[in-house]
Point group: C2
């Protein structure tokens, strides 16, 4: 996978798609956090909130690794999890998108 070359245009598209997913996922964490805090009413809830946040941020840090050598795998995961849409990749060559959708076990027929 590391031999893939990314053109300047593809890099711009990829970076934008990556940032969009990151932003959306962080917003989703913030929303869940607000829900948890709204119903927190005892000291032990603070520890549960902290555990939740620690776990979510660990996942984010592991997942959002912007290196071109592994970007296909990162995008495949984001696609599978629903943060990325195939349309976010417009401008990236077909071969790369096919790798992403294949690795993401994505059923393209659902959106085409």
């Amino acid at each position: 996978m590391s031999e893939l070359r990314w053109t300047k245009t593809e890099k711009i598209v990829a970076k934008r798609a990556f940032e969009k997913c990151y932003q959306q996922e962080c917003e989703a964490i913030l929303t869940k956090l607000k829900e948890k805090i709204a119903t927190a009413d005892k000291p032990s809830d603070i520890w549960l909130i902290h555990d939740f946040l620690t776990e979510e941020l660990k996942k984010i840090e592991d997942k959002y690794d912007y290196r071109y050598s592994i970007l296909i795998l990162v995008f495949a995961r984001l696609l599978k999890e629903g943060w990325l849409q195939v349309s976010d990749l417009d401008g990236i060559e077909k071969d790369k998108i096919e790798k992403i959708t294949y690795l993401g076990r994505y059923n393209k027929n659902k959106i085409e």
Copy 2:
């Protein structure tokens, strides 16, 4: 300090005072947390919130150590920080209270 004996009544009073402080301090953390979340609007804010929570819980875990051998010191700290009131200690012998207020650099004249 470890040679101090706590009577059954004193233990009941001490435990209640300790729990009150713990409860209040956890509620204060929850309130600060809600304020921080209300103004959070970008991904990096989640990390700041997590850092805040990690630090606050570490302080709580260090501070709320209920062992009779160090309880005078724990109460002195809670008094100094404003979580404990001298009146919370009604039922505990004068000598212990004097140690707590002295160690807490507490000006008794202010409330007497």
